[in-house]
């Protein structure tokens, strides 16, 4: 078991610590080797125990396609797929990804070609500023994959809206995003 960190309340700072453990934090940083599959490749990184998957992706692995918008699971901009399912990477502790599979927007292209969703989002003008888009794509891809696995024939706007209801977009009013997902569904690979 790691040493129990000790610290005063952040709101009532006491005197500065005398001998920081690593760099400068007030509590010792526990770092572990994290092995997982990222966009089809095996990765091993040293992950601080208090880091989220989002921090590992953006600030350690420099995969900045995954965005940070709200800090705490309210906006969906950081959506990635964990074992094939969309999750907010800001709410996943990095060490809990041990041995699991992660897919980010950088891994969406198929065989060097844009994913049908990337094509339909482009054509429809579904990305304006594009900041929510990577997360939106990861949610949409999971929906389409799940539907194909189920053998669904048609697609309903409501089911798309439900699948994307955790991804906030401030530019588009969602109209073109919903249309783009329908287009991608119809343009089956």
């Amino acid at each position: 078991m790691a040493n129990l960190p000790d610290s005063p309340s952040p709101l009532a700072p006491a005197a500065p610590p005398v001998s920081p453990a690593i760099q400068s934090p007030d509590r010792p940083v526990q770092t572990s080797l994290l092995r997982f599959e990222l966009n089809g490749e095996a990765k091993t990184v040293a992950a601080p125990a208090h880091w989220t998957l989002l921090e590992i992706l953006r600030y350690e692995l420099r995969l900045t396609g995954t965005k940070q918008g709200c800090d705490k699971g309210d906006c969906g901009a950081c959506t990635v797929q964990l074992d094939g399912k969309p999750v907010n990477s800001c709410l996943v502790l990095a060490l809990d990804v041990q041995g699991r599979t992660v897919k980010t927007v950088e891994g969406l292209a198929v065989g060097g070609q844009p994913h049908p969703l990337q094509k339909s989002f482009d054509k429809r003008g579904a990305a304006q500023c594009g900041f929510c888009t990577p997360g939106m794509l990861m949610s949409a891809e999971a929906l389409l994959r799940q539907k194909r696995a189920r053998g669904d024939e048609g697609i309903e706007t409501l089911e798309i809206a439900e699948a994307l209801s955790g991804n906030l977009c401030r530019c588009t009013g969602y109209t073109k995003i919903l249309s783009a997902v329908v287009d991608a569904w119809r343009d089956k690979p």
Binding site: P10, L11, P13, A15, P16, P20, Q23, S24, P25, D26, R58, R62, L63, T64, G65, T66, K67, Q68, G69, C70, D71, K72, D74, C75, A77, T104, V105, E106, P114, Q118, F121, D122, K123, R124, G125, A127, Q128, C129, G130, F131, C132, T133, P134, L137, A161, E162, L164, S165, G166, N167, L168, R170, C171, T172, G173, Y174, T175, K176, I177, L178
Partner: protein, 797 residues
């Protein structure tokens, strides 16, 4: 007017085509670099310490303990950057970091640069600030009356930030006619528009680097690189030529990134001090505190209409809750009255607007700056008039059309005017006549109209310099490079400019590379605010492209030994108009031109027309624009009379953008505007309680803490999800304006305005209640329904 304008007729080659955004593929693959995606070697991270008091005097700041922390590289306080600044040069009342006083919970007082963000975060707790807490003024009317507590002690007008009083025509007699004339009506209403914020999904971020040559480079998520450039120079006391501002990809702005913020100064100052790159990224809470969102307006309107529904007079008295600083407030105060005089003809008009300082996050420009609030009031006033007159509300609006090539009562010249076509379009698309007749109780339709500016006629600072500029280079590669200071914040200005260049130079859209918003590489443009980019940068692009096009046609004509007049550039070809079988690839044409004229480049600029566009009175220029857009919306709304829930099923939104250079982008602007408007009408509230932390609808908030923002997260500030957004039908109306590039006018802000009053008017149509105080929350709906029932009960008795 110095820039030539083109009002060419279709068919066009590129203009109006079904094309996507140039930069979309990068944004769809995670390649586009937003500011926080950029990392430099040895980069430090800065965090800013913020005031926990709404109003306090700073007695001392001691950074010793923080500076001594391992990992902390440097600390900065306000006395190092004491000069005041403001985006409006007449009202410089902000400091990068406060030196003497803090004026809202969240005001910046000091900052730390450390080896990582976590260390910087933690170090803030080790900065010791002693405050003398002062009484906080959070209610604008209270602040206006208070002469003892002054938020800006050097302000000559107490806590009044700006007052504007303008009158046009015989207002009192025209208003009185509403009482005296047979069949006429005089309608008085009190309206409250609440504060809302932009909530772009990308938080503000700045990165600064001071290199060994003495050049300061600042990358920032800004929509006004030029104004940031100016203010950095002022506050850091550096000449502008030693500063380079680069705007990377921006993740939405909506007005929320249209002036400098503390983080840019802090990152720059710390980069200069440490000699290392410094990044500062806001938390979501800091975005809410930086704010500059829609001002809360408290409005009293009087409107008189004659028996036929003609508007005899409008009079408005408005108090604007400005928050702690001026921001764009001077302009907001003018806009609150000046932008109301179209699309309807007023017999007489006056407004009296007062912006007041309060101890809250500063308000500023949000999509539809200053005019969304009065638009709500006037469109509800007109709806009330229509019901009193027993007139169809669309018919009443038609009766008051201002028309094209007209002058508003406040002296603004209107060029093209597609408002009547907008009304026709929403009436037809919504099936207004038959649908309205058939709706059950609880379901209603509402209509509203509006107008907006395609950029303001004058720069924020007094100058005759160009307001927009574009440089274009061609070469033997067949490629067009377009350099512009214009700011693409997701709205697509880069694509729009490429469309214009491609149309003129005969290339395809993909052949145009746009290099934008880098003050070292690009000519000056004032930035993305007031819906100015398409018209202003577009006209500059036309000027530049025409010059180059002329050279290419001349070189090709010489080659073919014909007149340049019969050479056309289109579809990646130079072609003879009189003999279409004769053509060469555009690349060959560029080679001919480069051979004939040497290296090919041109510049174009745009300045607004200075005569015949506005009235000749003090303030008459503010709000005047080269061209005006028009919008009309119909909303289909359902009210649940037991819960008070309002569901907006559908909005039909028609918008006259002059010419849709990129229809997909214009539709996107209309849809996004409608979404944002509906959200403001029903849910969003940037809610700072005057006394205590009150709740939505709560009558007696707790008495003990003032100036706290009730919700500073995207959980507590609810922006609609896919499931909360109505169906939106975007209807493009094209009434080309001679002043717009290919006739184009704005599309980014105008279509927000009518959504709010259309929804509120539809609620009346559904259940007979007027909600004049926004947002329309379920408890307000129930209270109004209860009052209506009580009224009916007493009427029956």
């Amino acid at each position: 007017m110095s820039a030539p304008t083109t009002l060419s007729s279709p068919p066009f080659d590129v203009v109006g085509g079904d094309h996507a955004k140039l930069d979309a593929p990068d944004r769809l693959t995670g390649v586009a670099a937003f500011t926080d995606d950029i990392t430099l070697p040895r980069m430090l991270h800065a965090k800013i310490l913020r005031s926990p008091h709404a109003h306090a005097r700073i007695l001392s700041i001691d950074t010793t303990r923080a500076a001594a922390l391992p990992g902390v590289v440097d600390v900065v306080v306000g006395s190092e950057m004491p000069l005041t600044y403001g985006v409006i040069p007449w009202t410089p009342d902000e400091q990068a970091l406060a030196t003497d006083k803090v004026r809202y919970v969240g005001d910046a007082v000091a900052a730390v640069a450390a080896i990582d963000e976590e260390t910087a975060n933690r170090a803030l707790a080790f900065i010791d600030v002693h405050y003398e807490v002062l009484p906080a003024l959070c209610d604008p009317r209270e602040a206006m009356a208070n002469t003892d507590v002054l938020i800006h002690e050097d302000n000559r007008h107490g806590n009044i930030s700006k007052r504007v009083k303008l009158a046009f025509g015989e207002v009192d007699s025209a208003l009185a006619a509403g009482d005296s004339e047979p069949g006429a009506h005089r309608i008085a209403g009190h309206y409250e528009f609440h504060g809302t914020t932009h909530a772009a999904i990308e938080p503000h971020c700045a990165l600064a680097h001071f290199d060994t040559t003495g050049l300061l480079t600042v990358w920032s998520a800004t929509q006004v690189p030029h104004y940031l450039h100016r203010e950095l120079a002022r506050v850091l006391e550096l000449p502008t030529y030693r500063i380079r501002v680069i705007q990377p990809a921006v993740g939405g702005a909506f007005g929320g990134k249209s002036e400098p913020f503390d983080l840019e100064f802090v990152a720059a100052r710390l980069a200069i001090k440490t000699g290392r790159p410094v990044k500062c990224l806001y938390t979501r809470e800091e975005v809410f505190l930086a704010h500059r969102g829609r001002h809360p307006f408290s409005m009293d309107y009087e409107t008189s209409v004659d028996a036929d529904g003609r508007i005899l007079a409008v009079s408005g008295e408005t108090v604007l809750d400005g928050g702690a600083y001026s921001s764009f407030g001077l302009v907001t105060t003018y806009y609150s009255g000046q932008l109301l005089c179209s699309p309807y003809s007023f017999g007489a008009y006056r407004f009296h607007s007062t912006r007041v300082y309060t101890n809250k996050p500063a308000c500023g420009p949000k999509r539809g700056h200053g005019s969304v609030q009065p638009r709500f009031a006037i469109e509800v006033q007109l709806d009330k008039a229509a019901h009193l007159l027993d007139m169809d509300p669309i018919a009443l609006r038609r009766r008051n059309l201002l028309g094209a090539n007209s002058t508003t009562i406040n002296g603004f010249h209107i060029g093209s005017n597609g408002f009547a076509a907008c009304l026709d379009a929403v009436e037809a698309s919504s099936d207004w006549q038959t649908r309205r007749a058939k709706l059950p109780r609880g379901r209603g339709l509402g209509v509203a109209g509006s107008t907006y500016i395609s950029g303001t006629n004058y720069c924020i600072y007094p100058t005759d310099l160009p307001q927009a500029a574009v440089q274009i280079c061609l070469d033997r590669s067949g490629r067009v490079r377009l350099f512009t200071g214009a700011s693409d914040i997701g709205q697509g200005s880069n694509t729009t400019l490429a469309v214009i260049a491609a149309e003129h130079l005969g290339v395809e859209l993909a052949d145009v590379r746009v290099i934008a918003a880098d003050t070292d590489l690009c000519p000056v443009d004032l930035g993305a605010y007031s819906s100015r980019q398409t018209l202003m940068a577009g006209n500059a692009a036309i000027m530049a492209a025409q010059e180059l096009g002329k050279k290419v046609r001349k070189a090709v004509a010489d080659h073919w030994q014909c007149s340049p007049k019969v050479v056309t550039l289109a579809g990646r070809r130079a072609q003879r108009l009189d003999d279409p079988a004769v053509f060469i690839p555009i690349q060959d044409a560029f080679v001919l031109a480069e051979t004939a004229f040497g290296t090919l480049g041109s510049v174009g600029h745009y300045n607004t027309p200075r005569s015949g566009v506005h009235g000749d009175y003090r303030g008459g220029t503010i709000g005047a624009s080269p061209a005006y857009s028009f919008s009309a919306h119909v909303a289909d709304v359902e009210v649940d009379v037991e819960t008070g829930d309002v569901t907006v099923h559908h909005i039909w939104a028609a918008h006259d953008c002059g010419r849709a250079l990129s229809p997909v982008l214009v539709e996107g602007q209309i849809e996004g505007s409608v979404y944002m408007g509906v959200a403001e009408a029903l849910m969003e509230h940037h809610h700072v309680m005057p006394t205590g932390l009150g709740l939505e609808g709560e009558k007696e908030p707790g008495p003990w803490v003032s100036g706290l923002l009730a919700g500073s997260s995207l959980l507590d500030y609810p922006i609609p999800t896919t499931l909360d957004t109505p169906e939106i039908s975007a209807l493009i109306i094209e009434d080309p304006d001679p002043r717009g590039p290919f006739g184009a006018k704005e599309a980014g802000e105008g279509p927000l305005h009518p959504a709010i009053p259309a929804v509120v008017n539809a609620i009346y149509d559904a259940v007979g209640i007027r909600i004049d105080c926004l947002p329309v929350t379920p408890e307000k709906v129930l209270a109004a329904l209860d009052a209506l029932a009580a009224q009916k009960g007493s009427d029956d008795a």
